[in-house]
């Protein structure tokens, strides 16, 4: 394979917009995408005319199954007034958003386009949970994995079991990830579950009291997380609070060539590396404790950017399940294989730690509208690097950051490196 090359043309993010993430029975994915685009339009520092946009790259996993609507890209382009520019939908399961971002980056980096809109959208909560499970299952092998009785929580649970067996991690270690991400998400006004786990617990107690039922007597959040009624087992060793939710949401970013970035803002965030790799179904892998596609994508992105893992200040990673964040923190090279769970336990990935991960709340707390998630990660990094993350802003400069977006169990992985100059 050809060595990753630096981009021929610099690529900058100059504006971002995101809908609230959550469950919105009265909104379609179009409504959510318009909400995201309106925020982008209103917040580009120097303003901009949407007529300069040359293309739309849209991440979306399955509007066909979730909403009965295919051919989503031109519909979204029309919804935000972009016709007749070319619009295309990118589908790589839960990595669709990150893959759309990479396609937009390649278009600008090549010099073929100067201004592109990258979006992501998914409307998932309309379907009953059983059908959501089936729809997401379509991202796995539907001939030999799904008919055997697996689900995505099941796949990641089997990954967790293999990891625990090799490295001595316990299910309690996974809870550290959920606790941290809910703490971060509580500071994110766009998050679906923007509450800490202790606050969640107090809410449950208050609700019981209000209904005249006996109030639960959890000692603390650990006690709550071990309660099979409050935090039921989904697929051992994963419980409900190890899983990201089903979410409606949309996100978009405006990518422009480096030469034109200052027309839009004096504070652009540059994308300097964009790696992507593929892998076989879970049963065809030699090792379940790492995602080789994530390692491959990270190696490409770092080499292209001319940086090392140790240079990276913050990361948004694909925590569809708590175990996925632990493995991501190792695959990105932050921690040695088998030590990511200890790093999480020691607070190294907390907002005030050495290597903050998922300051947005991650997919776990912010929500996981699958096609939008990869774009949402870029938005958090943009805000953190510009010092605009509000109550969840990390201390000090953020010169380099990374996003890591995964499709299925790692059959697709996309990694981007961001630089503040």
């Amino acid at each position: 394979m050809r060595k990753p090359q630096p981009f021929p043309h610099a690529v900058a993010i100059v504006g971002v917009g995101m809908s609230k993430f959550g469950a919105f029975p009265d909104k379609s994915s179009r409504d959510l995408f318009v909400e995201a685009f309106r925020e982008l339009r209103a917040t580009v520092d120097k303003g901009f005319d949407p007529a300069v946009i040359e293309s739309l790259y849209l991440g979306n996993f399955s509007s066909d199954l979730f909403e009965g609507q295919g051919h989503m890209a031109p519909i979204m382009a029309d919804a935000v007034g972009l016709c007749p520019v070319p619009a295309m939908r990118l589908e790589d399961a839960c990595a669709s958003g990150g893959v759309a971002l990479r396609q937009g980056v390649l278009a600008v980096a090549s010099g073929m386009q100067d201004v592109v809109l990258v979006g992501g959208a998914e409307r998932m909560t309309k379907l009953p949970t059983a059908q959501v499970t089936d729809t997401l299952g379509a991202a796995a092998d539907t001939l030999f994995e799904i008919p055997a009785g697996f689900t995505f929580p099941g796949f990641y649970a089997a990954i967790a079991t293999a990891y625990m067996h090799r490295y001595g991690m316990t299910p309690e270690h996974l809870m550290n990830v959920a606790i941290k991400n809910h703490e971060n998400g509580a500071l994110n006004p766009k998050a679906q579950f923007g509450v800490t786990i202790p606050d969640w617990m107090q809410g449950r107690i208050a609700a019981a009291v209000k209904k005249g039922k006996p109030a639960p007597t959890w000692r603390d959040q650990w006690d709550f997380l071990h309660d099979n009624a409050a935090n039921p087992m989904v697929a051992w060793p994963l419980r409900l609070f190890d899983c990201s939710p089903v979410t409606d949401g949309a996100a978009c970013v405006l990518l422009v060539s480096g030469e034109r970035a200052r027309e839009f803002t004096d504070n652009p965030v540059y994308i300097i590396g964009a790696g992507q790799a593929s892998d076989a179904a879970l049963h065809d892998r030699a090792d379940l404790t790492t995602l080789s596609a994530a390692r491959g994508a990270a190696a490409q992105a770092y080499e292209q950017a001319g940086v090392r893992a140790s240079d990276i200040r913050i990361a948004e990673v694909h925590d569809c399940f708590t175990i996925a964040e632990i493995i991501a923190s190792e695959d990105l090279g932050f921690f040695a294989p088998g030590t990511g769970y200890r790093a999480a336990e020691d607070g190294m990935t907390a907002r005030d730690g050495a290597r903050p991960i998922n300051t947005s709340g991650g997919l776990k707390s912010k929500g996981h509208p699958v096609g939008a998630s990869g774009v949402g990660q870029a938005i958090e990094v943009f805000k953190q690097m510009r010092g605009e993350a509000g109550a969840r802003q990390v201390a000090g400069d953020v010169p380099l950051a990374v996003t890591h977006n995964v499709g299925a169990t790692g059959s697709t992985c996309v990694v981007h490196v961001y630089e503040r100059r």
Binding site: P147, G149, F150, D284
Partner: protein, 134 residues
């Protein structure tokens, strides 16, 4: 699963019919036209022994549609003696007794049912090895 897909994959689900790559010698399951190890297209048919050991597993408490009657049940990735890894439900075992490395063997069972009137899917599950084969 649709009836045509059921039919097309029946030899794999009933008898673990697999392939051996004539170029690199690896055993391939499920069968495919291009070898995932060496990208050659020269395979011959083979039947797997149905014996292997558990590589990893999970116990499913939240069952997908069609599998509710089995919950909780244990899903495993089974490393077969011939090399390939296979995705299967375990049967005839208490979930607490399942361990990584446990020897298992294939049995044919009902996998799922598509509603009360729908198609019943049969195929392989794995159970703890009953007897050691010399």
């Amino acid at each position: 699963m649709s009836i045509p897909r059921n039919w097309r994959t029946r030899q794999q689900r009933y008898s673990l019919k697999a392939e051996v790559c004539n170029a690199c010698g690896n055993t391939i399951f499920p069968p495919r036209d291009v070898c995932p190890h060496c990208a050659e297209q020269k395979q011959s048919w083979t039947n797997l022994s149905g014996r292997g050991e558990i590589y990893s597993f999970t116990t499913m408490y939240s069952a997908p549609a069609g599998f509710e009657e089995y919950a909780p049940y244990t899903m495993a990735l089974v490393k077969l003696a011939e090399g390939p890894m296979i995705t299967a439900q375990l049967t005839d075992v208490d979930t607490e007794d399942v361990k990584i490395g446990m020897p298992v063997e294939m049995v044919t069972r009902k996998l799922s049912q598509d509603g009360d009137e729908g198609q019943i899917l049969y195929g392989y599950k794995f159970r703890p090895m009953l007897r050691q084969v010399a």
